[in-house]
Symmetry: C2
Subunit: 148 residues, 2 copies
DNA sequence: ATAAAACCTATTAAAATAGTAGGAATATAA
DNA sequence: TTATATTCCTACTATTTTAATAGGTTTTAT
């Protein structure tokens, strides 16, 4: 499987925060309760998101987390890339993959590259705002293809 | 990462066999040597492909493996689904996933479904023949998108 | 001071993936 | 009919990745 719980949880947290539509900080405890995710595990995920500068944590009483930008400013890619290590569909397309000696003769490389592009394009064009208010879904989440 | 070595090796073997363009059986030993894959590991992969009826094994001296059909009759999906366990991008879309109690409220479900469809469509429309003779690649492996 | 919160480091548990070992059954050909 | 080359079968082991837990430290508001 491709997207780990880390990435899926990260998305859920971001959506959760986007939906609170408040400027104040929301404590992890609340988010974890609402999303039914272990506090400790969630903590380790939020750390990644803070480190990646897509949200801010404030310590101490009254502290918590909040988004740094408006929901439409976050692409799904920008969230997943912080938690997923890689979004590449195969090892040879990962960032610091050791160069493949078979690359020149490889009959599958183009296919993997095409897929990689497809997936990135898909995630690049969905924002947090698209996820919170799924009104005009159709153009974003296309219906099943009817071609042969 | 999404596609395991099992699946990638399976594809390479199928391509290898397609390129031999002979009706006789090719021993695993030869394939493994040509593809530089451990014989024993390859064996476990070929077992899956035989079981899945996409190729036939013949025992004994002079034996080996051969394709059951013409290369253009194999979609990439038909090969990967035998080795990959699942091609679903997330757990909740796997075949016998336990029903998710959050499904009705889930803001990400449509996105995952859309991605699943995208990937399946992609693999469904590439055949072994497309991989062996990559002439008119362009319409199969689209170039980078130029949209914003 | 106290309490509530994020932050930090380390460890453990579970699952999936990758790979290995050894022999049994089968078919061909000398 | 015997030797040989092959697939087939069962089991095991190792490695890596993912998921989760534990316990303490620092910061901030009241």
């Amino acid at each position: 499987m491709m997207i780990s719980t880390r990435g899926r949880y990260a998305l859920r947290v971001m959506i959760d925060l986007a939906e609170q539509s408040t400027d104040s900080y929301i404590p992890l405890k609340e988010i974890a309760a609402r999303q039914e995710i272990s506090e400790k595990y969630l903590e380790s995920i939020l750390k990644l998101l803070v480190k990646g500068k897509i949200l801010t944590g404030l310590r101490g009483k009254g502290g918590g987390y909040r988004l740094n930008r408006a929901p439409q400013e976050y692409t799904v890619t920008s969230i997943l890339e912080l938690t997923e290590e890689t979004l590449a569909p195969v090892a040879c397309l990962e960032k610091d993959a050791e160069p493949c000696t078979r690359a020149s003769a490889c009959k599958t490389l183009n296919m993997w590259k095409g897929l990689d592009r497809l997936i990135r394009d898909y995630f690049d064009h969905i924002t947090l705002a698209d996820l919170t208010d799924q009104v005009s879904e159709a153009h974003i989440f296309p219906p099943p293809s009817t071609s042969s």
